[in-house]
Structures are given as C-alpha cells and as structure tokens.
Symmetry: D2
Subunit: 480 residues, 4 copies
C-alpha cells in the first residue's frame, strides 16, 4: 500500500508522552486525515487508541491523554482509494516472546509483496495488507536471536523502499529512517511540565508546536534508540548518496517545516522565482491556485515584478473529509472549492501558479473558470516538472496511464487544459530550488529512473555501504 | 479468554449466505451482545463486517447483507469484564500462503497460553489475546504441508479445551466440535430463495428461524467440510465419553433449543419437578426469578401442586447493554430490573425458583425485596447444584474466592441470603433431568473434577481414541 | 396526535429531582421508547434535556442528572406512525409573561383541532402538531388573568378528551387528570438522600422503583399543586361516572402496576379464568403468546386445569427499537420474534392465549407457525372483546377499516386466522375481571359508543358536575 | 441574541430548490458553522431538515436533497457563547391560520425584548429565545387582517435593528432587508437542470457557486415576493441614508463577495494600502496574520514596497468546530493554530497585518511568538479602527469591558501587546477604502454612536421616510 502518513515518537523521563504526541499529531494533520492513533508504554503495558477521522475527533474526551506514560508514538494516516478502515489505522501493536511492539510507519516498501510471500511460505499469517505487519514479522524473527540494534540492522538489510518509522519495543522508543532517506524524520528536544524530553517526528512543525528545539534530521540509515533517560544513535547504513523525495518540498510538507536542512517555504519561493525566469510571460497579475501554489506565486510575482492578486478564493470548508452526498454535487466540487473573483480577473492577463499537474482535469476546470470569469489570457505555471512516471515510494499517485504528462507532450497538455501558455519548472530548476544535488534526490516520478529496483522500471542504484557494526557497541550516546 | 459466544456458518449453491447468517445471529443474540460479525466468501475474496453492539445495530444499513456470496460465517460475542473492544470482535480473518481464513470461535482452550508461548518462541507474533489467533497460527502451519482434514486432525491434537468453531478456508466452510463436545454445535438444512443450503450453528434456534430442518448435532470430534455443492463428514476423533456443559441446559441456551438430543425447555421443566421432589415446602405460591427461572418454576408448581404466581416483574428495558450513568444508579439496579408485586406476595409463603447462585449478592437482594413486599416466608429453590469451582471451559464465572458455594455451606448460604429455606438441586437430580449420563457431562464447576487437565485442579480424563485416519479418504459425503 | 406516553413529576424540599425522575422514567419505559425528556426547575431556570430513544441512551453521560433541582417532570413517548422526530419529544417548554411552563402530557384531546383552529384565528402560531402546545396556549391565556387553580379550571372546561399531565409552572409542580380519568395517574411519597418528597406518575411502578409509598390515584378532575414544601389538592370537577381506559389493564400497563385500585396482574389473571369459563375447550396445553398473554394464560390454565406449557419462545432482542434493514427481513419478523417449540407442541391440542386481535395478521402467522410445528389443533383465546371501533383517546390503533373485528364476524375471523376455534372475552367478562362498573370504564373501542363527543361516532356523555370553586380557597393542603 | 448568520432562498418553476440551497449554504459556511437547515415547500407541505454542525454533515445522506420542491430557504448559524443547541437551529417553522411560515434570519433586533414582553402581556407564548420567533408572532398577527405586503410593512414598522431574512409563506418566497441595510442581501439568477430560477442570499458567492448571474443587491427597505413564476419588488421603506455594517468588509464576508457594490477583496486591498500610508514603518517584511489579514497585507506590501513574506503558517485543521479536549490543550491553542516560520523572521523587522483587535490577548500571543522566533522588531498594523463599543446589530463581540480599545489608549494597547509600534486604520481610511459615505455606514462599534436607538448608547437616527404604499399595487413585477 502506497501511503503518505505522519509519525511521531516522544520520550520523557517520567510522564507527559500522550498529550505531547497529541499536539504533534495535530501539527502533522496535513499528512493524513483518515485515521489517527497513539500508543503509550506505561507500567509494563502498551495502551493504544486508534480511530477514524482527524486528531481532535479521535481523541475527543479520551482518557488516554491523561495516561501518565513517558514514552509513546503516534500516527496519522492518509486516505488512499479503498482500504479506508479502522483495521488499517496505526500504530500496529503486536505481542511476541519478547513483549510488545507498536509501530507507526511512513513510507512504502517496494519488496513487501515478495517478503510477505516468503513469510507466508514459512507459515506466517497476516491480519492486514500493510507493510507494517511485514516489518513486524521480520523484526520479531531477528529479535529472537539478536539484540535490538543487530535486529534492526538485519531488518534494514531485508526491506527495500521508503520508510521512516517510530516504534515502541516495550518502553524503548526506536526511530529509523531508510538508508536513502526518502521520507523526512527529524529529532527535537521539548519540555513538558518541567521535564526535558525527546521528540522524533516526520516534520519539524511537530517540534515547533511545543516551542521545542530542533536538533537535527535523522540521518538516512540511522537508528535512534531512546529510553526515558538516554538516547543512542546507531548509523547502521552509510550511503554515498541519498534519495530525498522532492514532492515533500513541492506540495506535501507544510511550508513552515525544515526538511533535510531546507525550509519548505523557502524552496517554494525559489521555485516561483525560477519559474518566472524559465517561463516569463507578459501578464497583468500573478495568482496562486490556493493553497499549495501560494508561496510559489509570491516568488513568481517578486521575480517578475508582476502584481500578486488572488484570482481564486478557496472555500475553507470543502475538504477531503467532507463527503459529497451525491454525484450531482461531486460534479460541482471545483466550483464549491474554488471561486473565481471576477473583478480581479476581468480583462486581465492572468498567470496561475500551481504546484503540479497529475491527471489534468482539475487544471482544465480551473482554467475554464478563470476564463469564464473574464480573463483576457490564462497562463499556467507549474512549480514542478511533468510527472511522467508513478511513485512507488510513498506519494499517492495514479497509474502511468492516468498521468497526463506520461501520455502527452507539454504542448498537448497546454491544449488539453485550454491555457494560452503552460510552463513547467525544469528538473534543474527544481533541484536548484531545493538546493540538494540531484544525486541525492529521488526524481523517479519526473525521470522514470528510480533509486531502488522496481520491476519493470529503470533504476540507478544508489551506492550503499553497509557499516561494519559491532553489536556490543552501543553507538553514540546522549543523556537527556 | 473465557468466553461464551454464538457461531453460525452457512453454505448455499449460489447466494444468500449473508442474510441467512444475519437471521441466525439474531436468534443467537442471547449468547453475546457485545459485538457481532459476519464474513462472506465471494468471488475469491472474503469480506467481513464487525462492530460493537447487538446484531441489528452492527448491520443496520450495511450493504454486506446484499453481497451475493453463497458461503459465510458469523459470530456474536459475550461481554466479559474488560477487553470489550472492536479488536476482539470475530470472525478473525487472516491471510496466509494458501489464501484467506476466517474463524468464528466459541469456547475456551485451557492450553492456549502454553501454545502461544511456544509459538512466540518460534518467532510468531500475535495481534490479539484471543484463542482464535492461536488456532489460526497452528492451523496455518499444518495447512502448509497437509490437506485440510489432516491439518484439522493435527490442530485438534494440539489444542485442549472447549471449542466449537466455524471457519472459512477461502470459500470452503469448515465446522468443528471438540472431541468432548463441551459446546453445542448442530447442523440443519435451510432454504433461501429456492436454494437448499446447509447451516451449522451453536443452537437449533438458528435453524428454526429459517423454518429449516434440524439434521443432527455435530458429533464431538467431528469435522464438517462444506462447499457450495457438497458436504463431507470426518470423524477425526472418537471418544468413549463426552463432556457436555451442563450450564447450557441450566441457563445459557434458549429454552427452545435442542442440544445433544435434549430440548432445553424440557430439561428445565424436569429440573423444576425434581427440585419439588428433593426440596418440598409447604408454601402458598411458586414464583420464578425471571427470566431464567420461569420454566423450572412451572415444573416445580406442576409437581408440587402449589400455585404458580409471579412475585417479581422484570423491566424488559434494563439490559446488560444499558449502561448505568452513575454509581447511585448502579446501586438501584436490582430495583430497576425486578419489581416485587406486593399484592401477589403479601402474607404469603413464597417459593422463589432461580437457575443458579454465583456470588449470592443478587439472591440476597431479591429475597430482601420479596420480604419487604410482605411475604410471610421466602423459600429459595435453585435449579442447579452449588457452584464450587470455576469454569475453565467457556462459561463466564468469577474466581473460586467469589463463588459463595466454594466458601460457605448450604446452611451458611441460606443465612447469607436471608431465606427461610434454601434448596439446591442435587447433582444426580441435574444429571437425570438432563437425561445424559454423568460420565458424558462436564460437571467441573459442581464437583471440582474436570474432564481435561487444568493446572491446580483435579482431573479425570475422558478416554480418547484417535481414529486411524487416512488422508486420502474423504469421509462420509452428502450432496445438497 | 393519538399517543400513549408515560409521565412523572417529582418534588423534594431541596434536591434530588433529576435522578428520581430518571429512575421513574426507566420504570415507565414500556409506555414509550421513542423519545425521553426531563425538565428540572432550579434557581429560577428550567433546564430540559430531550432525546430520541430509550431512557438510558438519552441521559447517558448527561450532567442533567447531577443538577441539584428539587422539582421536575419527565416524559417517555411512544412511537406512532410518522412524526418520529426530536421536535415532538416532551416536556414542551414555553416562556410567557409569567415565566416558564414545561408540560409532559399523556392522552389525546378530541377537540384539539377545533381549539387549534380557533387559536389560529385569533393569531396564535404553532411550532408543532402536538396537543400539548394547544394546552400551553390555552393555559397561558387563562393564567394572564387568573390564579393557577382558576386557570386550570378554565383550561379543563375547554379541552375535551383524555389527559393526564404534569407541569412545571416555574418551580411549582402541577398534576392534573381529566374529569373522566381515562389515563392513569397516581401519587406517591418517596425518599431521596434523607428527604421526603412527592412523586406523581402514570403508573405505580414509578413509585415502587424508589421503594416509595403509594398514596392514592389522582382523582378524575383533580388538580394537585405541589411545591417544595407543601401539596394542595383541588377537586376541580366531580363526575358521577368515570371512563377509565380498559386497555391499560388488558395490555398497556405493566402487570405490577395498580391502577384505580386494581392490580393489573390480578385483572389479567381473572381475565384468563373468565375466558376459561366462557370458552372452555378440551385441549392438552395452555400457552401464552408472550409477553402480554402470559398472565391470562396462567389464569386460563388454573381455571381449566389444563397444563400451562410454553408453545412459543420470544427473542428478547427483537424490539420495536430494532430497525429491520430490509423488506426481506421484515417479512421474517414474526419468525425472528417468536419461535415455536416443536417438542412441546407436537400432536397436542394447543390453546393460545393472547391479549387482543387488531388487524389479525400477526394472529394468523402465529397460528400457522404453531400448526407447522405439529400441533393437532390450535385454539385461540383472546383476553379482550373484539375491537370494533378506533380509539380516539390515546391508545395507538389503526383505522376502522383495518380493524378485523370491525369488518368480520368472530367466525369469519376464526377462519381468517386459521384456528380450530376462536374465543373472545365478553364485555361483561372484561368488566367483571377489572372489577369496575361498566359505567365507569371507557369501552369505546369495544362498543363504538364513546364517553365524549367524537364527530361521526356514537356517544353517551358521562354526567359531569362542575364543582363550585372559590379561587380564594386553596383546597386540601398537606405538608411534606 | 446577537447573531451573524447566512441565509439563502431559491425559487424555480418546477424543481431543484433543495440541491441549489445546499450548494449556496456550502458557499456561505464561513457565516456560521454551528448549525444548518433547509426548508422546502412541496405539494402543500413544508419539509425541514436541521442539524448541528457544518453543511455537509447535516445533510449527509439526507433524502431532503432529493425532494422535488421548487421553492425553499436555508440557513447557517454562527456559534455564539451558550445557546448552542438544536432548538436554535433555523429555519424556524410555524403553523398558523393561513398555513405555514418558515423563516431564516440574519441580524439582531434591538427591540426584541420589548416586543416579546409586549406579546407575552397579550398572552403569546414563546418556545425559544430567538428574534425569529418574535418576528413570526408579529407577522402572523398582521397577516390575519392584511395581505402579505401590507403585513410586511406593518412588521417592518415594529421591528428595529438589523435584519435580512428569507421566508417561505406556504410556497411563496419572501426576502426582506431592513430599511438601513445593515446586513447584506443580494439577488441572482441561476439555472438548474435547464430551468431558470432566482436566488436570494447573504453574499454573492452563493450565486457564483451556481455560475449564476448577480442581478443586484436587495435595497434597504425592500421586500421581494417570489413565486415559481414571477417576482415582485416592493420598496416598503425608502431612507435617505443607510447603515451598512463595516465589519462585513473588514473580516466577516468572503473576499470574493460583492456587497452593496463593493468587492470585499478590493476593499481589503485598499485598507492595506491606506494603512501603509497612515502608518508607514521602515521594515524588512510584511506578513499577514492568516487568514483574514492576507489581502490587507498584500495591499500594505504593494503600497509600501516592502516584501510580502509569510511569518506565520496556519494549521488548517484547527477550527472553531474542533473541540479541545482539555484545559492544557486550550492554552496551547495559538501554537496549534499559528506557527512562526523562524527562518523567514530571524533578525528581521516584521510588520504583522491583522483585521482587528478585540480583547488583545490573541494579538499579544502572536507578537510574542514572532518575537521568540527571532524578529528584530514587531510592528502591528490593524485594518480597522479601534473597537470602542459593542455591536448590537449582529456581529458577535464581547462586552464593552472586554474590548481592549474601550479601556486603553492606542499607546497602552501597543504596550499591552508588546509590539514595537501599533497602527490602527483611521475611520476616514476605512470609510474611503470601502468607498461608501460614512453617513451610509454603521460605525457604531468604532464611534459609540449608533444609527438606531439603543438604551444607554448614543444615537444619530438615520432619517427614514415611510413610503405611501397602496396595498392594491403589486409593485414592480418581473417574470422568470
């Protein structure tokens, strides 16, 4: 299952985990609104609460928030087509000979089906379709005969793909990021009721919400082992290159997050500026397609000198969680969501800045609405290159057949969405806006060349180097 | 987990499983009101719906009932202290190398902890605490290398305790009853929309609800394998003696069910008559403690010639599912539930007939209310012998310390519940009322001697004989 | 709107009203499961909580139960066809120049439409269709110029029909019963946390639930005015004859209630005995149609000497509140609800005792099921005379066209329900079983002659005598 | 009750009202998220659905949307302190001698208490506290003796305050705006399934959502009477001056709405520019307080030439409808809602543009967060003048004591919110930005001088002139 999610783990000396996780999940809500869950280790037990919907609904009136546990993890899950059920909510909790494991996972394994079949051949059974259950089976096997760090090393040798996960092994918090660092994961220090604690989370905003201190990104291939009084770092794998997901910068992450050293807001501003350089146009106004196009539109306006005026107003109450009661209503969804401001648009040459084009349908409807509202010309500028290939690493995208840029040239797309001109950001432009070398980014969906092996797709493997790892060595240790 | 539940399995040639299971579960609702679930095999998939609460709530408005599957199973679960969560609802569904298995289980394994630890030592992981997941792990292991019947044989050699379960192995319905036949399970033929089908269920009322034909009880040690067009019977184990639970007759089953050849209503009537012979009393009226004492009270009245008059009226709206909003209310629970009819009682010598005494608190409160209502004397007659030992085989009972008859003599209990006289049915009386030899009943809670080994308890093992079983032999086969 | 409901009013010196009302409503739940409501006067305000469903659901977790008010009223409402919405839930609360009035009403006015039209002609507006709102308008008009008792007198001169209602006029509890006493209403003394208080309720079980003392029935035409420290009785109207509803005895009230001096259980027992005398039959067993036929069947068995054996078992979980998910299921409703016990019935001549026949459909289905279960003969005995005419006074009944006894003779009905014989209780038999002279009962639905004028129906008016009432006289006063 | 709400009315020749109202309410959701309701006239009946929460929740799965009515009204209600209950949801529906009236009201009467007392003195009763019920009582009285238009004239002579309401009188749609035009109300033409219809709504976005044609604002003092085939306009009152609410422009209305001829976006842009002129500051960046400060901040940036950079990011999932589970969480509400982007702020001189300051607490917390994030200086610019007096005309505001500008000077507020400088827009600046003469605006909350009489407050009455109105004259008529 290809999923984008948000994870958080927290460890304090004596208490405060539950409420801290709640606040962090709230700040990561944009990474998933389908379900939310928290697991807290307390007095030898692991208590979990999971539910469908957004964070405040799931935990409303729930006494878990008052559990005095000091270590815990949390998860928000994104709704992909199908499979929207409570059984899929995380953390996944299992019992084994060594106690209890709870896992909250963000990412997508590309070999999970193969691993699952192999495990099934050995007699393992699965209660869900999730990658997370595969991870649990593998890990438990390794934990039977090895210490935690060695077990993690063996696990990471088996699983391929993107993964950033947090885990409770009884009352030990473990955080791990895959060797290529596809998905973000960062470390911070926070305070709660006078106690210092650690927080590990998908984005730095989950640290900010506590007025906490951002410490650093978790390194690709790193495993953190955090207990109530100390933290160990184990650099299990060291890679020459990474494969950070570019779409976290383009639209998935919050603009106020810092990911792998780059402020997302700043990347988007630069994307807008670069777009203005690459695809200038003589126009009267620059408008974002709200919300994800806002920052890039500001950048485009700044660079081009053309005025920033909003052509479209978004109805804040139309969300993915708001079910449309009928087909008739669904057809009207774009109108409900985006209203064109006629007076701002009339007789003007409008540049619309959006983050990406997937199937092209939404873009066409938006261009139509702006034109019907009286625009003299409609120019579309996209803050990312054409998406020509699917994502297998954790961003929810349709099949290759549905990706318009996989089927049509830019000029054909320009015609299809009925824009006067259409300009996509170049790959170089995106890479430079992010400020991370192309060799350290995953550009699979933009180039069709992936950093891991995927059956039927081209691949340029990142060169990995397995660290010599001495299980007796406890790695770098920090006290609280 | 010690649980009493209800199970049902249905197989038709082409469709109709879901609605038939729904009706059967409705008729088995008394066996469990905590949760309900249905799994239907359809076109290579197994779809399940589970939810908290009673059958009509769980499936209200649910489109599962319209799924055109022809084979399926269902489950209702009893609420025991704690563990009342959706995760525990059944059927349990798992994926393994051979496809999908769904299990709905009634009973309690006495060696599940041992089996679980053994499996955990071998690297297995568990997502729940249920016996059912243990069964699934064991079965899958055996299915890897054996055909279904041989795998069932191996499973049944490992698990000890009470179990009657139905299972979907992909689209094959399997029903099994433990070699001692603790828990009831019976077979019927039903019709739906012109098709003949089979139903397997905990009680015969689940056949009656379809106006179906009761075929027979599933034999202890028997495995039925039912597909959409035929049924095989495999007598895996054959035992000299069985160990049918007596409390199914005393209070758990519906009076209109026939279990192992005995109509429950008839057993209860005989219990009442026998009680009148064993503990006659010069009184003015015989009254049941409703509802479970009704039939025995009728029998007592008939035998004794003393008039049957209701001393207590039950509020039909006070149920186990109706949560009391506060402690103050809880204290008043008996008053809310049972009202003494003063005019029927006043100055009369009343015989109250109840099915059993567990802790003694409820009995005392009822005697008090009848006396306060003006009874001249209150005589209590109990349609079962004293419960001196816990049940490990699937009836929800408290610990030995809480069982009043484990701590006090009959005369002490008589004093404790403040009755003029107290008479328990003798063990012989119960056995003869049931009409099954004592050697074929489980009397563990009444004698402290159990038919299976339980650590710290006395045991007289039933003599088992493993049938020579040829895996190539498909047993007795019936067509639809 | 023709409605049967349950009402309760409570007054204590300083606190305890809410929880006492809650308990009383619980005991009156059989009078209405559609909605429930409580209004409490406290510190100059009237707080109300109303909701759909049964009492424990509506007030679950509600802090109203903790409101320290000492005076309040409550209501449970019966679900009639249509109009099942929260807007119709009671108590109805209104503000007027003199403060706040909350009313909980049981009964049916036969001139409400006329009164409503008259009020509308005078410019009044109505937010609901309920009789209660009509009562509120009339009462407020009278309260503008008169004291409470005089206003009640004027109100009672205007409204015609059945009504027993309790009312909060600010913090004064008022209880009133119509001059003919159609609907029951009684007075009791209860205790809560050391305080003595009064309770007024539809049935005496609402006093029993508190272990309270039954004081007396409210007299027809009487108005009780109860404050936190005293109670006044005003016999506003005195009638030569009353018109108590016979169906309260036949099936609506709880058997353990005492209504107008008669224990309902005792009436039903006598009904059964009388039925045995009027319609003897040579049979093998007497069985009730559960639940409402139980007591009469016991009486029939006692009188006839034929054995009482249950032929039908009721599924306790099939209730009016349990919605059937589809038409297919609805057709199976009788099977889900009542199961025939074949072994009890087979080859026997069965007498089925039921309380009444309305449309005849259910009776026919039950007779069919008993016969299919193997009965040699099926004799039906009905504990009430044929219902030939609709009820306009508060019992939920269908139109005349749908009443089978209005369309067919007894022998035709016998054929229609496919019974060997059918015997209805005679009107004399019913009257004598109740033990109240026919002149003091409402027999409208049995005779077609009503005690109040109803357009298109025959009427023999009860002779009323308006008491000379001196508004300065405060009536009979009791202190707490 | 002082309430800001949204209303809509729709009339088509034969069908389509319900779904059109649903869409319009969706677009007006920002005017109220507490409850929503729709009333549809169909075949002589008026059907209503009301519920708590936002539009998609209330009508999810509701079959009202399929009712083939052609005329209807809708309402969204704002949650003010207390009184958040279903009873207060609108439309209010009443029955009277002439049929049914449903009313959806936006505004606040300043003499409703006086009117209510007067009506109560005449024997009227009230089931709610709403102004709407007062309006219904008055209107019905007048409708008894007058035609609709004359009745409206009489009603409007009695009620004082702000009101824009839509009403169904049986199947006639009536729209009315108070003579001073406090609250917006506009008229549009829309199409649904090939039919032309009229829509009346609080804001023009409710026309845009249908791709409809904005016709005009309803004139202050105008009554529109719309049936399925024609529309009449009656200018009941004509005033020399109006009193349009300025806060609709400042923050309440959507930026893409046109109100009384002014695009709200344009007004806010001008507010920002004017603010830059009135309170320039040497700074490094202009940032809005999202969302309501965005457009003004763009204007400030444009005028000042200082760069527009977002200092604060809003968590879209923290809404007024999202209940905080505990006090601890509530304290963290600002952090959950607004995150400061450190990298954008660090060492910079930041200008924060917000729409208004009410109590000052939120402003102080925001300034603190921006300063903690490293800002060198924090300058606050407010797009409205100081609020010195409460609103009695329909904007939810606290008491005078709680309004910081009523208690402190600007320099004291500057100190209280800990900003380097604080600049409020001048009243002249606001008036000129709106582009409507001060004499035609309500500036009560900014000046303490109100356009209607309010006890204890200063008032300069707008000069009204009652039109000579001939009841036989049907006004200006348009056909569809």
């Amino acid at each position: 299952m290809n999923e984008a999610c948000g994870v958080v783990g927290v460890a304090f000396p004596t208490s405060g985990a539950a409420l801290s996780i709640y606040h962090s999940l709230y700040s990561l809500q944009h990474r998933g609104q389908e379900s939310a869950g928290i697991s807290i280790a307390h007095e030898g037990n692991t208590r979990s609460i999971k539910g469908m919907g957004i964070v405040p609904w799931v935990f409303k009136g729930n006494d878990l928030l008052a559990v005095p546990g000091s270590v815990g993890i949390g998860h928000v899950r994104y709704s992909t087509a199908g499979g929207s059920e409570l059984e899929n909510a995380q953390p996944l909790t299992i019992n084994f000979s060594g106690g209890t494991i709870a896992i909250a996972h963000n990412g997508n394994l590309v070999n999970s089906e193969e691993l699952r079949l192999d495990l099934e051949q050995r007699g393992h059974i699965f209660l869900s379709d999730s990658d997370t259950e595969v991870i649990a089976h593998l890990l438990v096997k390794d934990l039977m005969r090895n210490n935690l760090v060695e077990a993690m090393r063996r696990l990471m040798r088996r699983i391929v793909g993107s993964y950033s996960f947090v885990m409770l092994l009884n009352d030990i918090l473990v955080a791990v990021r895959d060797p290529l660092g596809f998905k973000p994961l960062c470390l911070g220090k926070i305070e709660s009721e006078g106690e210092q604690g650690y927080v590990v989370a998908s984005e730095s905003v989950a640290i900010d919400v506590h007025d906490g201190e951002f410490v650093r990104d978790i390194a690709p291939g790193e495993v953190l082992v955090i207990t109530r009084d100390r933290m160990e770092s184990h650099q299990i794998y060291k890679q020459k290159n990474t494969a950070h997901c570019v779409f976290e910068y383009v639209y998935f992450a919050r603009p106020d997050s810092v990911i792998d050293g780059r402020l997302v807001y700043d990347v988007r501003l630069k994307i807008g500026e670069r777009l203005a350089s690459e695809h200038p146009v003589d126009a009267d106004m620059i408008s974002p397609v709200p919300d994800s196009g806002i920052t890039s539109a500001i950048g485009y306006s700044k660079k081009s000198g053309t005025e920033y005026i909003e052509a479209l107003m978004k109805n804040r109450y139309v969300g993915r969680t708001f079910i449309m009661p009928s087909d008739t209503v669904r057809k009207r969804a774009v109108q409900l969501k985006l209203n064109a401001i006629k007076q701002n648009i009339k007789d003007r040459r409008v540049v619309l800045v959006d983050d990406s084009v997937v199937r092209g349908n939404t873009s066409r409807r938006i261009v139509d609405r702006v034109r019907e509202a009286g625009a003299a010309e409609v120019h579309v500028r996209i803050g990312s290159p054409p998406i020509v290939s699917p994502c297998y690493l954790g961003i929810d995208m349709p099949t290759r057949e549905e990706l318009i840029a996989s089927q049509k040239s830019v000029s054909e797309i320009e015609a299809a969405i009925r824009a006067e001109t259409l300009g996509y950001l170049s790959i170089d432009g995106l890479v430079e806006s992010i400020g991370i070398p192309a060799n350290d980014l995953c550009l699979g969906c933009l180039t069709g060349v992936y950093p891991v092996e995927i059956p039927g797709e081209k691949c340029v493997l990142r060169q990995l180097r397995l660290e010599e790892f001495d299980c007796g060595d406890s790695g770098e240790v920090s006290s609280f």
